[in-house]
């Protein structure tokens, strides 16, 4: 693969990683730790919202993030013709 194309693939990869890691940071460190007291004034069911993010919400989001990454990268690999099989 030509160098410029390779660089393009890599930059797109980095961009994907950046967005996903921003979400990763926001749901755990943002909602679960830094903003926990503020969010605790809101409720979902019997949970205070900040507490829910710290003990449940962040974990569900993590799982979803990885699957989004899988789908997105498989697409990117095909687009740049670097996919396997």
């Amino acid at each position: 693969m030509p160098k410029s194309k390779m660089q393009q693939y890599w930059n797109k990869n980095l961009k994907t990683l950046f967005y996903l890691l921003v979400v990763w940071f926001v749901v755990s460190f943002g909602f679960g730790i830094i903003g926990v007291d503020y969010l605790n004034q809101f409720h979902i069911g019997g949970f205070k919202l900040g507490f829910w993010f710290a003990q449940q919400g962040s974990i569900f989001t993590f799982v979803i993030l990885i699957f989004i990454y899988v789908v997105r990268m498989n697409k990117l690999d095909k687009e740049f013709d670097v996919n396997e099989d």
Binding site: F47, Q56, I59, F60, I66
Partner: protein, 561 residues
Amino acid sequence: MEILTWTYILVGLSFALYIGIAIYTRAGSTKEFYTAGGGVSPLANGMATAADWMSAASFISMAGIISFSGYDGSVYLMGWTGGYVLLALLLAPYLRKFGKFTVPDFVGDRYYSNKARVVAVICALFISFTYVAGQMRGVGIVFSRYLEIPIEWGVVFGMCIVFFYAVLGGMKGITYTQVAQYCVLIFAFMVPAIFVSMQLTGNPIPQIGMGSTVSDGTYLLDKLDGVLTELGFAAYTSGRKEMADIFMITLALMVGTAGLPHVIVRFFTVPRVKDARLSAGYALAFISILYTTAPAVAAFGIYNTIESVSEKKVDNLPIWVANWQKTNLITVDDKNGDGIVQYVADKEANELTIDKDIMVLASPEIAKLPNWVVGLLAAGAMAAALSTAAGLLLVISTSVSRDLFRTFRPNMSEKKELRIARLAAAGAVVIAGYFGINPPGFVAEVVAFAFGLAAASFFPVIIMGIFSSRINKEGAISGMVTGLVFTLSYIIFFKFISPELNTKEYWWFGISPEGIGSIGMFLNFFICIVVSKFTPAPPQDVQNMIQEIRIPRGAGSAQAH
């Protein structure tokens, strides 16, 4: 049937299953021994990774820790799952493409230096040994409580089982046994949790039950907050630690998770890069079933315990209290002689002490569930401990046979290498068993710090090795050494030299020794970058290799040198 009979039957059946699988899938070559021949499906690998990762501590202790620390316990929940996002996005696919067998392999090749490789081997061995000793102890505790045999015999028996299938089966045997162990452990964890959730809140899904109302119509968590503050404790849903400390501990656990060698090595067993990505997703999905249930078990446990023991007559306590008093995991001491149990925050007046492990181990008895559930729980706890122990033993044996022997004796035959790997695994089982029977007083603490050390040593060097082609061996070695020495000194100072100073006022920036690995990691990154700037760039063939691991095509299976 009696609890004991059920326990023997269920634990016995599960062991027979593991041994059967191990015989059926035993390894014939080094490739099968190290990476299961690289032919494991992403789903199976995800399950195996989940079992590998969830140790006796996750299964037995984590819910109990959360019971007694409430919101502060979130550091473990977020820390031990969030690390998988880093692992899946930043490490697994690239290390799979790199296509060798171990983490020191990568460090040694990427930084073209045997010195770097040896530093990495030492880190890997240190982390794995502290961990495995804790697992063996877990096996011993389960045996002694449920099968009513001495803890020493429990450990020896556990050693024999692990020895049998790890030494015989290698990675291939371990992988398929772990798949079975995942099924056993998750079933065993969920059944009592679902029953308890039904009893307390009427909702069979513990994750939802935790946010539902109890019989008197108030929300469980609100009621818990009220009861605890009345007894003088902090509210369940609010934190006691400083925010900065919570932040740093969570970060250290996340990054440490991503740097643990026995987890990383699992991603070498799948056929393609895309399978490595997918199997990290499956692994976290399987892990999250337990990790989102654990906080519910924690809240139910502390609620049930207070309801059934606090302010009750000393001579009329539920039967499970008497059962667990025999193991000293729970003690009742009627200090003021009024015949009633006072459970309060004030240490002088408190009459009830409960070990954190009770919350899971006694949960079927507290909720008056049928006897077979207790036996099932024993089999599950055993599965959690054995699967993690086996994964760690494999890292130890691989580090010795491959990263040490192969480095200095490159012409060794494959048969000989396999023999050394098996011998090393056998030796490691014996050493781990010894520490399981005679645990040094600081084992539990050392296990927690293994994460900080993994965060401060491995993580930055692997990340930079993939995402920068400018970082060279001088930068990597000085970074790893700085991170390790800094983190280790801080921990040793506060934990072993001056434990009396181990309080908020003396910590740097209010960060406890548990969270200091995060600072070590930043230091490692910083030193690594600065030193590399002033020393020559890596040679061309290394730069080509970095370009090569960034694209998925052409991964092939893991290769020997």
